[in-house]
Symmetry: C2
Subunit: 216 residues, 2 copies
């Protein structure tokens, strides 16, 4: 991608409040956004997450009721719920190691030092490590990847933390599967009359946000 075009798309992006409910993201582009989620980087590669794409309109209505009534939940073309795997533990590490062995065609034994490093890491849970907070950080990487991938494709998004996570878990049956909702993102196309689109993007001066140590 051209440098200028990237910056243009990142400036074009904003948190859309009013989506055009008549416009759907084409299947091919949605596939690409799902790929972006799957391909998101995470520490150790552990992927401590699940993404739930909610298309059922009755379910989206239920979710809207536990999302401060935000219209994006029902009006956007697509809605993704971002959930962490709760209490990531040794079993998750072992599952991941099996997956590495499968994908790379190597023995699990050859991965034992990497496995031990990850086991040592998750074993710190509760002993100075808040493993769910750690998983949450990884999940937010995926949020950043998703919004950026959408922006470069010219697809609008609206990230949403103002939701009731426990209600989301219940409605989507996530809790019983060991997952916990943290946020959601609506995706689609801004309505022509979304007032937010006309507001200047507010960022601190670059010099207040980025400092340099030495000259690059």
């Amino acid at each position: 991608m051209k440098t200028d075009a990237l910056v243009e798309q990142l400036k074009w992006r904003y948190a859309v409040k009013k989506f055009d409910p008549s416009r759907k993201i084409p299947a091919e582009q949605w596939q690409a956004l799902e790929s972006a989620l799957v391909l998101s980087p995470s520490s150790f590669g552990l992927q401590p997450w699940r993404f739930i794409v909610v298309s059922d309109s009755a379910v989206r209505k239920q979710l809207r009721a536990v999302s401060w009534n935000q219209a994006q939940v029902v009006e956007a073309s697509h809605l993704v719920v971002f959930a962490i795997k709760k209490d990531l533990n040794a079993a998750d590490v072992e599952r991941f190691v099996r997956r590495i062995a499968q994908v790379r065609g190597v023995s699990a034994e050859s991965l034992s030092s990497y496995e031990q490093m990850m086991l040592d890491f998750v074993a710190q849970a509760g002993k100075g490590l808040d493993i769910n907070a750690w998983s949450a950080q990884q999940l937010y990487i995926a949020m950043g990847v998703f919004m950026t991938a959408a922006a470069v494709l010219g697809i609008d998004t609206c990230p949403m933390e103002g939701i009731e996570p426990d209600s989301y878990d219940k409605i989507l049956g996530l809790g019983s599967q060991g997952f916990h909702t943290l946020a959601a993102a609506a995706a689609g196309y801004r309505a022509a009359d979304d007032k937010s689109a006309r507001l200047a993007k507010v960022r601190y001066e670059t010099s207040e946000v980025i400092t340099h140590v030495g000259r690059s």
Copy 2:
């Protein structure tokens, strides 16, 4: 950007272990990546972060010593340290409100309901809200944006959590300014002989990571 090209770049991306120390990111592209950091979305728009670009080679050597000796810290073209603003509070909200008023040319009074919402939010700190964990989540959005923006430009990155945050804070003088390091990212170009480049990317099956509720 074309859909196929986006997915291709996301597949091309991996956590580079060995950078080519002779290749520098051109200034124009690095500017775009700094813009991507500045433009990263955050909840409420609060930007509870600072990004430190470390070019000084002596400082990078010091950081390497507190990064499990990872060579990326000194060999990559650029190194960015990701830090949160510690203990985000009412003063940060007020500073942000002043900035909104300035950028949009509106009165601070006209923003009072938005200000109150944010003040109510940060006032929950310590009462069920871990404000530093919340800021960490926002910071990781910026990590995702940064890595994705780099990937679409054909620039390699390596995110690093395996660092000693407190030592980073000391070396960079962050603690006394109210910031705290969480992670870093090296950026540049993979060395031709980086062994990691030849390993297949390991992700769970899409069906295990993404679930659908209803048909889109």
